[in-house]
C-alpha cells in the first residue's frame, strides 16, 4: 500500500528532483498532501481526485497520505499532479509497481483525466536524466521539448486512462507528436537593408553584436534608433547547441516557449518603460522565483526603448547584473542565481520636447536635466554611445543583415580564438589587467590612443573601453593587430551626450 514515483519541480530555472510518496492505509477516508506545496500544489488535491474518478480508476475510500520529498523544500506549481496520481494508482495496485521503475513523471491534470502541458519541461527532464531516470512520462504537448534532452526515452501522455493502459502494456505508447510550426520570430521579418545611411550607428551595432558591448543610441525621434535596435538579433551569431539549450530552458521555465523547438537565434527582449524592478531583474515570493527580462534576454539582447522614461530605481538595479552577467535573487530561505549575459541596447531622445534638433526650443538647462535621468554610473556602462541623425531620403540603403552577419561571424571566430584560454567570452568582458595582452595596440595605434586620451580627457575606465571597442573593430576587419583607424573610430563611438 506504499508507492513512490520520481518527479521534479522548478526552482528558478533549475529543476530539482522530488520523490512523490503515497501511503494508502485503512482508517477514516481522507486525503492529505504534505511536503510544503504552494497554493497551486494544495489545489492539486482536487484535480487529482477528480481526474482519477472521471477516468473510472477508482478512488480508494481509505486514508491517503501523499508526501513530496524532500520535505523541507518548498514545491511550486501543478507539475507534480500526474506523479501524485500515478503513485496513488500504484499504491492501489491499479498500475503494476514495476511499470514505474526508473521512470520520471511530469504533468498537470485536468478534471477529465487529461494530461496538460507544464512550464520548464526541458529543465525538469534534464534534472531527472541526471538523477538516473531512463524514461520520462511527460504531457503530450511537452514531448518534443523533452526529447531535446536526448539521453532519456520520452513517453508522451495524453490522459490517465490511456496512460494506465500503456503502463500495463495493453496499448502501445502514442506516437511522438508532430512538432508545431516554428514560431515566427521578429528577426525573420526584419533586415538592416531597410535602413538608409547611418554609417556610424551601423558600425556600432556590428561592434555590439561581435564584442558584446552595450550600446546607447540617442537622437531625434524618427531618426531610426528603434529600427536599428530591433535589428540587432539579425546580425548576432546564432547560438551554439549548449547556449541554445540554455536559452530554451530559460524560456521554457519562464513559460515563453511551448513550441518544443530549440531556440537557436539570440532572443531580443523589449520591456516597456513602465516595467517594475521585479519584472526586469526577476523576483517573486515563495517557492517559485520568476525570471526577469534580463534573464530572458540571456545570450541575446535587452532593448530598452526610451530609456530615460524608465524609473531611475529600475535602471540602477541593472548595474550589478550588467557588471557580473548573473543576477542573484535572495529571499529568506533560498537564493537563486539566474544567468543574465545580454547586450543592452537602449534608445533615448536628446531632450524632452521630442522635436528635431533644428526645431527644438529646449534650453540647455532642460536638456541637461533630461540627460541627468540616466545616472553617470549607468551611462558609463555603455561602451558605445552613438548619436543618430536622421538620414536624408536620398541616401542609399545600407548593407543587409546577411552581409553584416558574415562579417560578424568571421570577427566572432577571431574573437573566440583569441579568448579561448581566458575566462571571457567576448571583448567587452575582458578584464583590465588582461588588456595589454588581449588588446595589444600597434605602435602607431598606441600613439593615436594616447593622443585621444589626452584630447578627450578619458578616464581610466573610458580608455580601457575605447581599447576594447578598438579590438572588436579590428576583429570586424579581420585583423590581428589594432590599427590607429580602429582606435579613432572606437573613440568616436563613445560620444558625450550633448
Amino acid at each position: 500500500m506504499l508507492a513512490a514515483v520520481q518527479s521534479a519541480n522548478l526552482f528558478g530555472i533549475e529543476g530539482r528532483t522530488v520523490l512523490v510518496e503515497t501511503h494508502v492505509a485503512r482508517g477514516l477516508p481522507s486525503y492529505t498532501v504534505v511536503g510544503l506545496p504552494d497554493t497551486a500544489g494544495r489545489e492539486s488535491r482536487e484535480r487529482v481526485r477528480a481526474a482519477i474518478q472521471s477516468s473510472d480508476l477508482g478512488w480508494p475510500a481509505q486514508r491517503i497520505t501523499v508526501n513530496l520529498a524532500p520535505a523541507t523544500m518548498r514545491k511550486s506549481g501543478s507539475g507534480l499532479e500526474l506523479a501524485i496520481a500515478l503513485s496513488l494508482l500504484v499504491a492501489t495496485s491499479t498500475v503494476p509497481d514495476s511499470a514505474l521503475d526508473g521512470v520520471g513523471v511530469l504533468g498537470e491534470l485536468g478534471l477529465d483525466g487529461g494530461v496538460r502541458a507544464i512550464d520548464g519541461t526541458l529543465a525538469l527532464v534534464d534534472v531527472l536524466a541526471r538523477s538516473g531516470v531512463t524514461r520520462v512520462i511527460v504531457p503530450f504537448d511537452n514531448a518534443a521539448e523533452a526529447a531535446l534532452v536526448g539521453s532519456v526515452e520520452v513517453l508522451p501522455a495524453r490522459n490517465l486512462t490511456e496512460l494506465r493502459a500503456c503502463l500495463k502494456a495493453e496499448l502501445p505508447w502514442p506516437e511522438m507528436p508532430q512538432p508545431l510550426p516554428r514560431p515566427l520570430e521578429n528577426s525573420d521579418q526584419l533586415d538592416l537593408s531597410e535602413i538608409r545611411g547611418l554609417l556610424v550607428a551601423r558600425t556600432a551595432l556590428a561592434v555590439a553584436a561581435v564584442g558584446g558591448h552595450h550600446v546607447l543610441f540617442t537622437g531625434e525621434p524618427g531618426a531610426g534608433k528603434t529600427m536599428l535596435a530591433r535589428r540587432l538579433p539579425t546580425i548576432m551569431v546564432p547560438l551554439e547547441l549548449k547556449a541554445a539549450l540554455e536559452v530554451t530552458r530559460i524560456h521554457s521555465a519562464s513559460g515563453l516557449n511551448r513550441s518544443g523547438w530549440l531556440i537557436e537565434n539570440p532572443p531580443l527582449r523589449a520591456p516597456h518603460h513602465s516595467s517594475s524592478v521585479a519584472a526586469l531583474i526577476g523576483g517573486g515570493s515563495g517557492a517559485h522565483i520568476r525570471t526577469g527580462e534580463i534573464t530572458r534576454a540571456h545570450r541575446g539582447a535587452l532593448f530598452l526603448d526610451e530609456i530615460a522614461e524608465f524609473a531611475p530605481t529600475v535602471l540602477d538595479a541593472l548595474r550589478q547584473p550588467l557588471e557580473e552577467r548573473v543576477v542573484r535573487i535572495c529571499r529568506s530561505g533560498h537564493t537563486v542565481e539566474l544567468p543574465a549575459d545580454f547586450i543592452l541596447v537602449a534608445c533615448c531622445n536628446p531632450c524632452p520636447c521630442g522635436r528635431s534638433d533644428i526645431q527644438c526650443r529646449c534650453s540647455d538647462l532642460v536638456r541637461d536635466r533630461f540627460r541627468r535621468r540616466l545616472s553617470a554610473p549607468l551611462l558609463d556602462r555603455f561602451d558605445l554611445r552613438v548619436r543618430v541623425n536622421a538620414p536624408s531620403p536620398d541616401e542609399p540603403p545600407g548593407a543587409s543583415s546577411a552581409e553584416t552577419l558574415d562579417r560578424v561571424l568571421v570577427a566572432s571566430e577571431r574573437q573566440a580564438y583569441r579568448l579561448r584560454d581566458s575566462p571571457w567570452r567576448r571583448n567587452a568582458h575582458i578584464g583590465a589587467r588582461a588588456l595589454p595582452d588581449l588588446c595589444s595596440l600597434s605602435a602607431l595605434a598606441r600613439l593615436r590612443f594616447l593622443e585621444i586620451c589626452r584630447d578627450l580627457r578619458l578616464s581610466g575606465r573610458g580608455a580601457a573601453c575605447v581599447q576594447r571597442v578598438a579590438r572588436t573593430l579590428a576583429d570586424l576587419d579581420d585583423l590581428a593587430a589594432i590599427g590607429d583607424a580602429h582606435v579613432e573610430i572606437a573613440a568616436g563611438l563613445r560620444e558625450d551626450l550633448a
Partner: protein
C-alpha cells in the same frame, strides 16, 4: 566710504510710490538727494514740489528716517555705490521719463563709466556659431577699449561678458534682480567675473526676485547705457528684440549679425537687417566702428589655428562642412574619406578650435 548723497538717494528710491519721474523732480527742485531728504523731513517739500500728491509725500515723511538708516546699513555692508542722474559720470545719456534716476552698482571697475560702451545681446539658446560670435565680439570690443554691456543671462549674454573678461577688458552686467540675488543661478560665477572686470548695475532694491516682467524692463537700461547695440542671435520674438526696440527709440545704431535663413535663431537678426539695422559681417567691424586705433584682426585670446597649418584631411572636412553644421555621416559621404579619417580630422579640427560638437552635429568655427 559711502557718501551721504548716495545713502540719501538709496533712501529716496526705497520710499513708497517713488517713481523715477517723481524722484527726478524732487531731486532737481531740492538741488540734490541730501537736501531732498531733509526737505521731506522738515516738510518744505510741500512747497518745493507742489505737484506731488500730498498722500504720497505723507507716506514719504513717515518712512524717511527708517529708510535712510536702512539704506546706510546695507550700502555700507555690501560696499554698494549708488549712481545718481545728476552725477558727473551718470552713464545714461537719455533723460526720458522711463529711464531710471539712480542705479545701484557693485564691482571693482568703475572706470567703465567713462569709457565708450556697446551692448551685446541675444538669445539664451544660441547655436554654437552664435555663441562663438558673441564671445569674439566681446573680445574685440574689449581689445578696442570699449565696455561690453549685457544682461548676465545664459547664452549670448554670458558669452559676450566672457569674451570681454577673457580679453581682460571691461564689462557691465545689467541685472534685473536685486544685486544680492545672482540670477540665473547657473551664472553665479559669471556674476563674480563681471564684478571683477567691471560692475554690475541694477535699479531694483536688494532682495528683488526674478519675475517675468522684470527683464523686458531691464532691457531699456541696457539700451540707455550704450552708444550702440549689437544683436548676435535672436529669435523673431524675445528679449533681445526688446532691447533693439528700446535702442531704436533712443536713436542708437543697431548692428545685427546676419545668419542663415535655415537657422531659427538668426530670424530676429535677419529681420532687423531687413528693417535697416547695420549688418555686422565680421566681428572686427564693430571694433573698427567705435575706435580709431588700429585693431588686430583676431583677438589673441581666442586660440584658433590657421587652416593652412592643418592636415589635408582636416582641411577637406572643414571645407566640406561649408560653414554649416553637419553630421559625421554627411561629412563622410561628401568627402570620400574613410570613417576613421573623417573622425580623426574632426578631432584635429576640434583641437585647433575650428570645430565644436553640439546637439549631435559638427559645427565649423
Amino acid at each position: 566710504m559711502i557718501s551721504a548723497r548716495e545713502v540719501a538717494a538709496a533712501a529716496l528710491l526705497s520710499l513708497p510710490r517713488a517713481t523715477p519721474s517723481r524722484l527726478r523732480t524732487i531731486i532737481s527742485v531740492c538741488g540734490g538727494s541730501t537736501s531732498a531728504v531733509s526737505a521731506i523731513r522738515d516738510g518744505s517739500i510741500f512747497e518745493l514740489s507742489p505737484l506731488t500728491p500730498i498722500d504720497v509725500i505723507g507716506g514719504w515723511q513717515r518712512n524717511i528716517d527708517i529708510a535712510y538708516e536702512a539704506a546706510r546699513l546695507v550700502l555700507e555692508r555690501r560696499g554698494t555705490r549708488v549712481l545718481i542722474y545728476d552725477d558727473v559720470d551718470w552713464p545714461i545719456m537719455s533723460s526720458a521719463d522711463s529711464m531710471p534716476t539712480m542705479l545701484f552698482a557693485e564691482g571693482d571697475g568703475f572706470e567703465v563709466l567713462t569709457r565708450p560702451r556697446i551692448a551685446v545681446v541675444g538669445t539664451r539658446q544660441p547655436t554654437p556659431h552664435g555663441a562663438a560670435d558673441a564671445r569674439e565680439i566681446g573680445c574685440h570690443l574689449a581689445d578696442a577699449g570699449a565696455v561690453v554691456v549685457s544682461g548676465l543671462a545664459y547664452g549670448i549674454d554670458a558669452r559676450a561678458h566672457d569674451g570681454a573678461i577673457r580679453a581682460n577688458g571691461l564689462t557691465i552686467g545689467v541685472a534685473g534682480t536685486g544685486l544680492d540675488i545672482p540670477y540665473p543661478a547657473g551664472n553665479t560665477d559669471l556674476w563674480a567675473g563681471v564684478r571683477a572686470h567691471g560692475i554690475i548695475v541694477g535699479e531694483n532694491a536688494f532682495g528683488t526676485l526674478p519675475s517675468k516682467q522684470i527683464f523686458p524692463v531691464r532691457n531699456r537700461i541696457i539700451a540707455g547705457l550704450v552708444s550702440a547695440v549689437v544683436i548676435v542671435e535672436a529669435a523673431a520674438r524675445g528679449g533681445a528684440m526688446h532691447t533693439a526696440k528700446a535702442a531704436l527709440a533712443l536713436g542708437l545704431p543697431i548692428y545685427a549679425v546676419p545668419g542663415s535663413r535655415r537657422n531659427p535663431m538668426a530670424e530676429g537678426c535677419n529681420q532687423l537687417i531687413a528693417d535697416g539695422a547695420i549688418p555686422l559681417i565680421d566681428p572686427v567691424d564693430i571694433a573698427l566702428a567705435i575706435s580709431n586705433a588700429s585693431v588686430s584682426c583676431r583677438p589673441v585670446t581666442l586660440k584658433q589655428t590657421a587652416l593652412c597649418a592643418l592636415t589635408s584631411d582636416a582641411r577637406t572636412v572643414f571645407l566640406a562642412l561649408g560653414g554649416e553644421p553637419a553630421s559625421l555621416e554627411q561629412v563622410v559621404s561628401r568627402t570620400n574619406l574613410a570613417l576613421a579619417e573623417a573622425a580623426g580630422a574632426t578631432r584635429e579640427l576640434e583641437r585647433a578650435g575650428r570645430l565644436t560638437r553640439s546637439r549631435g552635429r559638427l559645427w565649423p568655427m
